[in-house]
Amino acid sequence: MTVINYRKANSEAIARAMREDPTVVFLGEDVAVAGGAFKSTVGLYEEFGPGRVFDTPISEQAIIGAAIGAAMRGLRPIAEIMFADFLGTCWDGIANHAAKIRYMTDGAYSVPIVIRAHGGAGLGFGAQHSQLYDGLAMSIPGLKVVVPSTPSDLIGLFQSAVRDPDPVLFIEHKALFDVKEELPPEGYTVPLGQARVVRQGSDLTLVATGAMVSVALKAAELVRVRGIDCEVVDLRTLTPLDLTTVLTSLAKTSRLILVEEGPGICGWSSEVAARVADEGFWMLDAPIRRVCSPHTPTPFAESLEALWLPSAEAVAAEIESYS
């Protein structure tokens, strides 16, 4: 049995994909010789060499473009964008090109790239190094979006992402780097588009992603003493979106609270709420609530950042407010 943390799971996930498929190459800033700004790609350059692992200049548009062009010619590039916030510097390549080329060429070309980006708050990095960009990515047709919350999911979902013929944005949460988990036997994968019920419950459904999954679980524990039994769903991928698992849970609980890191406006929680308010309307016994960060940039001060992030206590209070 292997126990591994989320940080090491990054390099392990990439290594497995590169061992399996020789057309997989990896590029990004300081990902090769240095082993990554977060030391999350250590060992890859040593194992796969300069022919498959590439350090680039600080040129996000070129990194994404290079990945797209190589993918259109049969390779399967993995491109790292160090912080998800920097996706803003190469958004055109991702949203206007990678995601649209297949459609615009009616299938002649596809763009099988995986864009890895480190996202999320909680580490005191401030407003320009703490975003997830998950909702923005989810809004783009042609782009798949993965947000793993555990080491084993990270590795399993990553294999599916690399094998997927479409562009995938794979957002790893910086605050989870030290989370440890035992891995299933080698060779497993986790399919895109399947949410995971991480806690069974009958009274209320909590849906979360990334670092908010553990927050939701903590909240579930907090309200358990009050006799409220929550089910917790980890979406794992935002596109494709597994609404079925959410609706199945809702059929049991009739109550839904969505826990999103970041301002929820036009985020995944607004989309899930909107879908449920349509397809799941008759199952609802109460309003759909969202616990999100306030609609502000991420503040730097530790005290403010702690307030900015949804807390288990805030989620618990929300649950009790109408259970």
Binding site: A62, A70, Y109, K144
Partner: protein
């Protein structure tokens, strides 16, 4: 210029492009197509010279002003017309349009309409060759105005640092939309005067001279194929018409227009190889008939099926 076919063949290629563009213009002015189109009348020599210099299978990426490049590289007149008309038989099934002519079977990796964005993609295509050792050299074409956007800079730097097998061709037609290039760049030659910033040689070629273009591009391709890295070629040419279907191009000084009309690439080439007016007229008729036949075929083709709306967003059917 070994790789160039017989003079008459070369002339025919340029005339085919010229006639194609003229027909496209009327399709839009007659309201048969909505949207916009960007013609290359006057820039045919760059396309035909480039097409001859690049080898079969070499990836070529160009822009919304790319009818001439794609046709010169072998895109059929019919599938080009069909695409511009939004028909099922178009090279993109009617989903791309005039600005996005593409044909994978010809390694035509696409015509792109957001300025500069295709240059990093072309760099990726060239990078793939260094990984697969397929011996291909990529060609990436763009306009003079494109030298001021960030993606141009990032792409050239990366191609140079990685010594990638790619030939960049900047078609300097003196304008970006309605703006004279000298109003928006602080150097004389928007591309050539910047080559040194990427450790590249300063290369300028007469873009209205097929032979010169073919020679220059061939040399650049050879360097690339020999692992000597990218070249940045600035081809001096002129957009005989306006920027897009709606633009009469009135902002251009008449002397300038006259000067360049006097340097028409087709006439220059015909004169050089002693193809007289009568013969040129015959060849023009030939080209026109071919173009018209293709247009008729394209017009007869059906629109995309309604199912096409939802197809090919994803490789699988997942939403």
């Amino acid at each position: 210029t070994a790789r160039l076919a017989s003079p008459e063949h070369v002339l025919l290629e340029m005339l085919r492009i010229r006639e194609f563009e003229n027909r496209v213009q009327s399709l839009f002015s007659d309201g048969l197509v909505k949207g916009s189109t960007h013609l290359a009348n006057g820039q045919e020599a760059v396309a035909v010279g480039m097409a001859a210099a690049m080898h079969v299978g070499d990836p070529v990426l160009c822009t919304y002003r790319g009818h001439h490049h794609t046709l010169a590289r072998g895109l059929t007149l019919e599938s080009a017309f069909a695409e511009i008309l939004g028909r099922q038989t178009g090279c993109c099934g009617g989903k791309g349009g005039s600005m996005h002519l593409t044909d994978k079977s010809l390694a035509l990796m696409g015509s792109y309409a957001i300025i500069g964005s295709h240059i990093p993609i072309a760099v990726g295509a060239a990078w793939a060759s260094t990984l697969t050792h397929d011996g291909a050299v990529t060609c990436c074409l763009f306009g003079d105005g494109t030298t001021t956007i960030g993606s141009f800079h990032e792409a050239l730097n990366l191609a140079a640092v990685w010594k990638l097998p790619i030939v960049f061709i900047c078609e300097n037609n003196l304008y970006s939309e309605y703006t004279a290039i000298h109003d928006v760049v602080p150097v004389e030659q928007p591309a050539a005067d910047r080559a040194s910033a990427y450790g590249l040689a300063r290369i300028i070629v007469d873009g209205n001279d097929v032979d010169a273009v073919e020679e220059t591009v061939s040399r650049a391709r050879e360097r690339a194929a020999n692992g000597e890295g990218p070249s940045l070629i600035e081809a001096l040419t002129y957009r005989q018409g306006g920027h897009s279907r709606a633009d009469p191009g009135k902002y251009r000084p008449q002397e300038e227009v006259d000067h360049w009309l006097g340097r028409d690439p087709i006439t220059i080439y015909a004169d050089r190889y002693g193809v007289g007016p009568e013969r040129l007229a015959q060849l023009t008729m030939e080209a026109r008939e071919e173009v018209d036949a293709a247009l008729q075929a394209a017009l007869a083709a059906p629109s995309p099926s309604p199912e096409a709306l939802l197809s090919n967003v994803w490789s699988d059917s997942s939403r």
